[in-house]
C-alpha cells in the first residue's frame, strides 16, 4: 500500500498496464516530456520510450481517429484529451466511428480504446475547463462511460477500462485530482465496469452522485445526520452502463432519491436516474425523485462559479425537502 492522489493512482494504473502489455500506447497533447498538464502521465515516456508514450499534434479528432485505427490493428491505445471542453473536436470520431466500429463490422473489429480526460468544475478555470459533459457521451450507444471518485477507484476502474475490449470514455474529476489521498495497493487490481458502489448505507433517502460530488454529498450527509436523517449514498462509478439494480434496490428501500451532479440538469444523468427510479421503484416512492444539478447555463468563471457549483448546504436543503415532502 502507498498513499496516492488520484493523479498518482491513475499514473500507477497506466504504469502497470504499460509494463504488462506491449500493445498499449499512450498519446495526446503534452503527455510525453511534460507528463500531461496535470502530470497524470509523468515519467511514463522516460520509462517506456517515445514510441509508446508520446506527444501528438494538437488535434483531438486526429488523436481519437488515429487511436481507432490503432485499436483495430492490434494496439490498445489510451489517449488523453487535455480537458473535457476539448473533447468536442473529436466528437464525430467518437460518435460516428469509435462507438460503432464493433457493430458496423459485426464484431470483426473490436475497439479496445480508452479516451481519458479531466472534467468538472471547482478549480477557478477559464471557459471550457469546468464542464461535465457525461450525458452527451452516455447517450451514445456503443461506449462505456466511467467516472471514479477516489484514488482507489480510479486505479481499479482504469485498469478495467484498459482491459475492456470496448471503447471507454474515462472522465477524471479534476477537482479531486490532488485534493484527496488514499492508501492504494501498488499491486494490480480491477473494479468491475457498470457497477455502482454503496458508499454508505441509510434508510431515509438515497443520494446518487459520482466524481467530485461524492465528497460534497458526504459533507451534506453529515449535516443530515445531525438533523436525524439517514442517507444512503451511491457512487455511480459507471454512467453507462448504469447500475439500475443498485439504484433500484436502494430507492425501493428508502422511497426517496436525489441525484447530485455538476452538469446542466436538462437531459442529464439526473433525468435518466429519475426515469430509472420510476421504472424500478415507482410503487415505493414517497417523494418525487429530484435533481440537484447545475443550471442550464454556461459554467461561470471563477467569480460566478460559486453560484453554479453544488454546495453541501444545497444538497442538504434538497435532502431535507425530500424527507419532509
Amino acid at each position: 500500500m502507498s498513499v496516492m492522489t488520484m493523479v498518482k493512482a491513475i499514473n500507477n494504473a497506466l504504469d502497470i498496464k504499460l509494463n504488462e502489455d506491449k500493445s498499449i500506447v499512450i498519446y495526446g497533447e503534452d503527455v510525453g516530456v511534460e507528463g500531461g498538464v496535470f502530470r497524470v502521465t509523468e515519467g511514463l515516456q522516460q520509462k517506456y520510450g517515445v514510441d509508446r508514450v508520446f506527444d501528438s499534434p494538437l488535434a483531438e479528432s486526429g488523436i481519437v481517429g488515429t487511436a481507432l485505427g490503432m485499436a483495430v490493428s492490434g494496439l490498445r491505445p489510451v489517449v488523453e484529451l487535455q480537458f473535457e471542453g476539448f473533447t468536442f473536436p473529436a466528437f464525430n470520431q467518437i460518435l460516428s466511428n469509435v462507438s460503432r466500429m464493433q457493430n458496423r463490422s459485426r464484431g470483426k473489429y473490436a475497439v479496445p480504446l480508452v479516451i481519458r480526460f479531466p472534467y468538472g468544475g471547482g478549480v477557478n478555470a477559464l471557459e471550457h475547463h469546468s464542464d461535465s459533459p457525461e450525458a452527451l457521451f452516455a447517450h451514445i450507444p456503443g461506449l462505456k462511460v466511467v467516472i471514479p471518485s477516489t484514488p482507489h477507484d480510479a486505479k481499479g476502474l482504469m485498469i478495467s477500462a484498459i482491459e475492456s475490449n470496448d471503447p471507454v470514455i474515462f472522465m477524471e474529476p479534476k477537482r479531486v485530482y490532488r485534493a484527496i489521498k488514499q492508501e492504494v495497493s501498488e499491486e494490480k487490481f480491477v473494479l468491475p465496469l457498470g457497477k455502482a458502489r454503496v458508499v454508505q448505507e441509510g434508510t431515509d433517502i438515497t443520494v446518487v452522485a459520482f466524481g467530485a460530488m461524492i465528497r460534497e454529498c458526504q459533507k451534506a450527509i453529515t449535516m443530515a445526520r445531525e438533523a436525524g436523517i439517514s442517507v444512503e449514498l451511491i457512487d455511480l462509478r459507471s454512467i453507462y452502463p448504469i447500475d439500475r439494480e443498485t439504484v433500484g434496490n436502494s430507492v425501493r428501500k428508502t422511497g426517496r432519491m436525489i441525484v447530485v451532479a455538476e452538469a446542466h440538469e436538462s437531459f442529464s444523468v439526473g433525468s435518466e436516474l429519475i426515469a430509472i427510479a420510476n421504472e424500478e421503484a415507482f410503487l415505493y416512492l414517497e417523494a418525487p425523485p429530484r435533481r440537484v444539478m447545475g443550471f442550464d447555463t454556461i459554467v461561470p468563471l471563477a467569480q460566478g462559479e460559486k453560484y453554479y457549483i453544488i454546495s453541501p448546504d444545497r444538497i442538504f436543503y434538497e435532502i431535507e425537502k425530500s424527507v419532509k415532502f
Partner: protein, 369 residues
C-alpha cells in the same frame, strides 16, 4: 520535411507546377514510353477484365435498384482504372480503408458482390467485410477514414510489420478537417499510408472549383510535408505506376504519399441523384472520351494483345453477378436479436433488459393474433 531521395515521378510531376502523370492518351497511344510499367500481357488483360467486371457489376446494381429490388446505390462508373490499379498493388496483408466509391479495390481484396448487394439490401453483414483480411467497412462520415488509415499505419510501423495501408477520399472530402489532420499526422509520424483523392470533379452537385481554390488537389500534400502527385485517373498505366511507386516508398519506411487521381464520375452520385440538374450533356460526352476502359481497350488493340470476346465475357459476368444478387436477395434471415448482438463485446445489463422487454412485446403481439 520530406526526404530528398524522392522517386523521380514525384519530382518530374510536381503538383506545384500543376503537372499530371500520364502514360497513355485517350486513343490508347503511349505518350510517356519510359514510364510505361513493365507488365506482361496477361496482367494487362487481367486488369481490363477486372475493370470490366466492376463496370458490369455497377450497371447491374443500378438496374436492380431501378427495378425496386435494392436500396440506393453508389455507382463507380468511370473510376475503375484507379480501383483496379490499386487492387493489383495491394497485397493480402496490406490494409484497405475505403471511403465509399472504390468497389473494384474491395473486390480485389476478396469482397464479393454478394456481400456488396447484401449491404445495399440493408443488411449489415454485407458491409462488415468480415471474410476478408485487413479491410475496414466503408466510411460514410466523410474524411474520418484518413485518421483510421494513419492510426493503422502507426500500428504497422510500431509492430514492424511489412504492411501498407491504402485509403481513399473524394474531391469533396478534401474540405473536411479530418482530411488535413489525417495527412498532417501521417506526415509527422511518417507512416506507410498511400492516400488517394479520387477527384471525380463533383461532390454530389458541387464542382471542385467551389470546393477549394488550390491549383490542384495533389498540391495539398505540401501543407503536410508528404510527397504528392497528380495522376490521370483514367489511365490505368499511370495509376498502376503511381501505386507501385507509392507503395514501395511506403514499404521502405519513408512515409506516406498523397495521390490525386484525376477522373470523372460518369454516373450519378447515387441512384437517387439526377446529374442533369447540375451539369451538361456535352461535359459528360467530353469526359466520356477519356473513359478508362475504352483507353485500355484501345491500347491493347493497338498493341495487338486484345484477344477478348467481350460480349461473351459480359454475359459470363452478368450471369455470375446475377447469381450473387439472387443469393443476396434470397437471404431473408435477419433475426431481431441481431440488432442487440454486436454493440459490445459483452452485452451490458441495460441492453439485456431492453432486449428482454422487446421480447415481451413480441410475444404479446404474437398472442394477440
Amino acid at each position: 520535411m520530406i526526404q530528398n531521395d524522392l522517386p523521380a515521378i514525384f519530382r518530374d510531376f510536381n503538383p506545384i507546377e500543376d503537372k499530371m502523370l500520364q502514360v497513355i492518351d485517350n486513343e490508347g497511344n503511349v505518350v510517356n514510353e519510359k514510364l510505361m510499367p513493365v507488365l506482361d500481357d496477361e496482367t494487362v488483360i487481367e486488369a481490363y477484365k477486372q475493370m470490366l467486371y466492376e463496370r458490369i457489376a455497377d450497371e447491374m446494381a443500378v438496374s436492380y435498384q431501378r427495378q425496386g429490388r435494392m436500396y440506393t446505390y453508389t455507382p463507380n462508373i468511370g473510376q475503375e482504372a484507379i480501383h483496379i490499379a490499386a487492387g493489383m498493388n495491394i497485397r493480402e496483408e496490406d490494409w484497405l480503408v475505403p471511403a465509399f466509391r472504390e468497389m473494384g479495390t474491395l473486390l480485389a481484396k476478396g469482397v464479393t458482390m454478394k456481400e456488396m448487394f447484401l449491404f445495399y439490401l440493408g443488411n449489415e453483414h454485407g458491409g462488415s467485410f468480415k471474410n476478408v483480411r485487413h479491410v475496414l467497412p466503408i466510411a460514410i462520415s466523410i474524411g474520418t477514414q484518413f485518421h483510421h488509415a494513419t492510426g493503422i499505419g502507426y500500428s504497422v510501423k510500431y509492430q514492424k510489420k511489412d504492411e501498407v495501408v491504402y485509403t481513399f477520399i473524394g474531391d469533396g472530402g478534401t474540405s473536411e478537417g479530418d482530411f488535413s489532420e489525417g495527412l498532417n499526422f501521417a506526415g509527422v509520424w511518417q507512416v506507410p499510408v498511400v492516400f488517394t483523392i479520387q477527384n471525380n470533379q463533383y461532390a454530389i452537385s458541387v464542382p471542385v472549383k467551389l470546393q477549394t481554390n488550390s491549383i490542384n488537389l495533389a498540391v495539398k500534400s505540401v501543407a503536410f510535408g508528404i510527397p504528392g502527385i497528380k495522376v490521370d485517373g483514367n489511365d490505368f498505366f499511370a495509376m498502376y505506376l503511381a501505386y507501385k511507386t507509392a507503395s514501395e516508398y511506403a514499404r521502405a519506411g519513408k512515409g506516406a504519399v498523397l495521390i490525386e487521381a484525376f477522373t470523372y464520375r460518369r454516373g450519378a452520385h447515387t441512384t437517387s441523384d439526377d446529374p442533369s440538374k447540375y451539369r451538361g450533356k456535352d461535359e459528360e460526352t467530353r469526359w466520356g472520351l477519356t473513359d478508362p476502359l475504352i483507353r485500355l481497350q484501345r491500347y491493347m488493340q493497338s498493341k495487338g494483345i486484345w484477344n477478348i470476346d467481350e460480349e461473351k465475357l459480359i454475359e459470363e459476368y452478368k450471369s455470375e453477378i446475377d447469381a450473387q444478387f439472387v443469393e443476396a436477395e434470397n437471404n431473408k434471415s435477419y433475426p431481431w436479436e441481431d440488432i442487440f448482438g454486436h454493440m459490445y463485446t459483452d452485452m451490458p445489463d441495460e441492453l439485456k433488459r431492453q432486449k428482454m422487454e422487446y421480447e415481451q412485446f413480441l410475444s404479446w403481439k404474437e398472442n394477440r393474433r
